[in-house]
Symmetry: C2
Subunit: 292 residues, 2 copies
Amino acid sequence: MINRLALIGLGLIGGSLSLALKERGLVGEVVGYSRQLQTRLRARELGLIDRPVDSAAEAVRGADVVFIATPVQAMASVFAEIGPELDPGALITDGGSVKGNVVAAAKLSLSPAQWGQFVPGHPIAGTERSGPDAAFATLFVDHRVILTPISENAPEMVTRAVDLWQSVGAIVEQMDVQHHDHVLAATSHLPHLAAFGLVSALSRLEERYEVFRYAAGGFRDFSRIASSDPQMWRDICVANRDELLPMLDHYLVELHRLRQLIEASDSAGVEKLFADAKAVRDALYRPATSQS
Amino acid sequence: MINRLALIGLGLIGGSLSLALKERGLVGEVVGYSRQLQTRLRARELGLIDRPVDSAAEAVRGADVVFIATPVQAMASVFAEIGPELDPGALITDGGSVKGNVVAAAKLSLSPAQWGQFVPGHPIAGTERSGPDAAFATLFVDHRVILTPISENAPEMVTRAVDLWQSVGAIVEQMDVQHHDHVLAATSHLPHLAAFGLVSALSRLEERYEVFRYAAGGFRDFSRIASSDPQMWRDICVANRDELLPMLDHYLVELHRLRQLIEASDSAGVEKLFADAKAVRDALYRPATSQS
């Protein structure tokens, strides 16, 4: 049971965690801060928070759990702002999609005594929609949440973070900060780059209006993630640059390999590459394929 | 009303056209041929065809409409086989995703007197599933079908092809053969390459099992088209090589542009590219977004 939750960042992730806790009666009061006044008011209107406040510092005062769900590049200033106001017993955790730079920011802005309170986390959940209106209480049910505890964490803080996410139905796993950033570069960040890049490339074509007119269902699915929040994804790409660029290069090598096969009209080679990819993809989503 | 439809290729596209016509009572008999005996028997079992036959030549005998729905690279041999048996009044059309090489194959294998009977077509419909079991009667409803008439076509043949597709609920449009192949390279063929290539690239990672374990909903949507039929897509990529490779190069340039922006930590540049792509994508699917 959380007495007072401080929510910093009132979008899909923050709002959904709050709704999930409220629906289960697991939180007393939710105090919320977002940079935009409009967002704060909307979040209260939607019942995501009980009380909007005017600063991150004010939000964390007296809170036993602090959840930071802003775009990752904004977290450095959040840590700096909340440091002096944090309750020494408060659990601090976040929902950032990149962990390395968030941990670095936390260590830069919090006092060493506070490092142990910050248990970095990343809920692998989301849609291409964003903002407070996108939040819903079941977002995390049966979704993975990766925690990347740091060596300074008191075991009790890690346990509280695990309990927090399990209490809203998530499957909690733990891994190393750097390993997280590597795996997510492959699984999430690179696909977003690929989709944003493809839509962007097509939109540069002179005949773009006609091209998009003939886009079919495959393109709609493929490009859905190119409707994601540009600011959030800008932050993720820049924050995880060191893992993302080698992964992008790996993709470029693969596209060049495909290019060569097609240029040589190597039907057998093209088919093998496609068939191998299909086998991997089908194995991954076997349970879902029949419904799709 | 079609008296006898010859269906050559008994997969998703051919089977769905047949079901759609049958359900509306628009066809007398459907005679079907597929290379695999098993597919022919399954197609009859599913009611996609009334009578399986042992060759394409036998299928077209006495048919007033011939629909070729095999992978595009198989069409050359189909045209060669059916040429001698075609009824001079029969409409011949196809469902191939590439039109240039199909028209070339038709002109090579049919007699000049028969060229006028062949109205090339491409239904922009499909799922990542394939084969006779994937067929369903409403596949084409409200989907675009592009016809690419050739100069030799008698206007009456074009009208019959238009009527055929409109009768099963499709929105029929006409364009030039080469223009079709250019537009579809952008809209459909390149996205498939991008998705097959991405899944393939990730599957080459040593840590692939772990990577795929953390794949979320965005990746599932993005990679859905990498579950498409490898043989069909091999054929499309090789058949449309001349339009596809420049389009792939255009994509590679865009990915390199993104790479440079990220490498330079040019947040504003990355955000602009993402925001522009999102705006294009959102405008394209505005009606569907609220449901997704």
